[in-house]
């Protein structure tokens, strides 16, 4: 049990989660968010195929240029095309944003399910391990590890992935605890099914839904964490574009051309918001504790 959970009744997490219930469910906002995600993912995936100038080509004669025919969204302080950098940045940010929580989902999900299903010492070990990881402020830990391991996109993905494990473990364990009590699990056991079979065929399909909803929220968080690291210059290594890095670079041009910082900020905001809306809506519909699934 986390230090703060020992004194605080289990309802604390439930209350914080409840506090966010009441997000519009499958309303127009949901579909709008889904549309934006679709558009960004498509653009990022098709980045190389789109008729865009290279994101790293510098045009020293057209630095901080306003939007024009050649550069639809203008150029940054080194004369690089903004639109192209936004689209290529999307590709890199989204790649990290999807792969990192995937690590968390696979490892954290597995740990959480095993801990919640088998209980006992395994559970204590997993929970204690997760608590120790949670004892570090995540950004500080990420910075430290990047400093020691070296600044590459791969390392970035690994460390953010590892940092997301505790959250997935928690969600998976909570979902497992509430589902393992149900009768169809007992029925399967009574029919002589092996534990592995129960885990894979009965438990997993039910736990995967809340995990997937949480995964989308994880994508949103990862975009933010990667953005913060890149903003500090310690995330995606330049000159590769990333939204966070672009915001950081745009900082010194706030007076002359604020668009350089504000455009990637807008894109990041809309993308993070969209994943939050979709993830939250799905979570409200799949949380087994709220009797949905």
């Amino acid at each position: 049990m986390r230090l703060s959970e020992i004194a605080v009744p289990n309802t604390l997490l439930a209350r914080v989660a409840e506090a966010w219930a009441g997000v519009p469910a499958f309303g127009w906002l949901f579909w709008l968010a889904l549309a934006w995600i679709g558009m960004i993912v498509f653009a990022a995936g098709a980045a190389d195929l789109l008729p865009l100038p290279s994101p790293t080509d510098m045009d020293m004669l057209a630095r901080r240029a306003p939007s024009s025919f050649e550069h639809w969204l203008g150029t940054d302080r080194l004369g690089r095309d903004m639109l192209s950098r936004l689209v290529h940045g999307a590709r890199i940010s989204l790649t990290v944003a999807i792969l990192a929580p995937l690590i968390g989902l696979l490892i954290g999900g597995a740990l959480g399910i095993l801990a919640g299903y088998f209980r006992g010492q395994l559970e204590t070990l997993v929970v204690a391990g997760v608590d120790v990881l949670l004892a570090f402020p995540p950004l500080v830990l990420a910075l430290a590890v990047m400093a020691y391991l070296g600044q590459t996109v791969a390392n970035l993905t690994y460390i953010i992935g590892v940092l997301s494990i505790p959250a997935f473990t928690r969600v998976a364990r909570a979902a497992t605890l509430s589902i393992a009590k149900r009768e169809f699990i007992l029925a399967a056991r009574a029919m002589g099914a092996t534990e592995l079979r129960i885990l894979l065929r009965e438990l997993l399909p039910n736990v995967i839904l809340p995990l997937l909803a949480f995964f989308l929220l994880g994508v949103a968080v990862t975009i933010v964490v990667e953005g913060a690291l890149s903003f500090l210059g310690l995330g995606v290594p330049p000159p590769a574009p990333s939204w966070g890095g672009m915001i950081g670079e745009g900082r010194e041009s706030l007076e002359m051309a604020p668009r350089i910082a504000l455009l990637p900020a807008l894109f990041m905001f809309l993308t993070v918001l969209s994943f939050n809306v979709v993830g939250d809506t799905l979570r409200a519909h799949t949380d087994p504790r709220q009797g949905a699934a």
Binding site: F136, L143, A147
Partner: protein, 316 residues
């Protein structure tokens, strides 16, 4: 009460030990060698070897950990590679700035959240409630560094009311200090208020439906008293706990904010250590910050018990 504290302390010690272990192990992630990283690529193999022996890097891992740990508990966090300054001294010199920032941020966040939450809860479902809730949700998608840039753009570049960067020490000029700290504190506060507001609002809505609130109305008490005394106190438990847990997020956020606004705090020390590859400082700051985080959570637990008399008197 003392038994209660002792019981909680029993959990604190192992967690702190685990934190030290993990911090130490992270340092060993460095590919290659610490001594090599310090001296750079130009160093001769003999110089590297000498430094290795000097720093005890040829000893087994467990020995190095215990050696390091014994130094820690005596206050010896090592010395900076660059300046030779004792790490602990460097940290403590910058601690007040970070503390002031975090304190101002938390106070501002509460000052924003509490009135909003009370008003939303008292008129839940109304237009004000829905607008504020929507804003809170939207704010969650604006990370600290983005908020910092937006605030700088709005207040420093466009309106020119406040400075974009810089720091004036508190004892030198408290007004100037406040001017420099306002935007950074506001940035962090804006990151905290959505969760604080929503948690308090949710709890208050539940509490306002309790019988003792109807009883308070039946007693003819003023609305203000009912909201702020009868309803706020039982609703504030989750709020206080979340505020305490948020200290960790504040620490992470402080790194960004100190960097953007050029404040000489621990966050900037951490970043400087990374940029200059000063691993002694890096290790010391990480350990210091993680330990502080664990201890703050521990204190939050105690505070929670003080506020709710039922926890104190509950049988163990």
């Amino acid at each position: 009460m003392l038994g209660f504290i002792a019981y909680r302390l029993g959990y604190l010690v192992p967690v702190l030990l685990a934190v030290t272990l993990l911090t130490f192990l992270i340092a060993s992630l460095l590919p290659g060698d610490l001594a090599h990283a310090m001296l750079g690529d130009q160093a001769t193999p003999e110089a590297v070897e000498a430094l290795r022996r000097d720093m005890g890097l040829d000893q087994p891992l467990w020995w190095r950990y215990l050696n390091w740990l014994s130094g820690i508990v005596q206050g010896d966090f090592g010395r900076s590679f660059r300046t030779g300054e004792p790490v602990l001294r460097a940290i403590l010199a910058r601690l007040p700035v970070s503390l002031e920032l975090m304190l101002l941020a938390e106070v501002t966040a509460l000052a924003i959240s509490i009135p909003l939450a009370i008003h939303c809860a008292a008129n839940s479902g109304g237009a004000f409630d829905r607008v504020v809730t929507g804003l809170a949700f939207a704010k969650l998608s604006i990370p600290n560094f983005m908020a910092a840039i937006l605030l700088i753009y709005l207040f420093a570049v466009e309106l020119r009311w406040l400075p974009a960067t810089g720091y004036v020490p508190l004892d030198e000029d408290w007004l100037g200090n406040l001017r420099c700290m306002l935007l950074p504190a506001l940035t962090l506060a804006l990151a905290e208020w959505p969760v604080l507001m929503r948690v308090l609002r949710s709890d208050m809505i539940t509490v306002l439906q309790e019988d003792y609130i109807t009883m308070a109305r039946a007693k003819g008490l003023k609305s203000r008293r009912i909201l702020f005394v009868h309803a706020l106190k039982p609703s504030s438990l989750t709020l206080i706990t979340v505020a305490g847990i948020n200290v960790g997020r504040l620490i992470g956020g402080a790194v960004i904010v100190e960097y953007v606004f050029a404040l000489p705090g621990i966050g900037r020390l951490l970043l400087a250590a990374i940029y200059t590859r000063d691993f002694m400082i890096l290790q010391g700051v990480v350990l210091f910050v993680a330990t502080g985080f664990v201890i703050v959570n521990f204190l939050v637990d105690l505070l929670y018990a003080v506020l709710d008399p039922r926890i104190r008197h509950a049988p163990k």
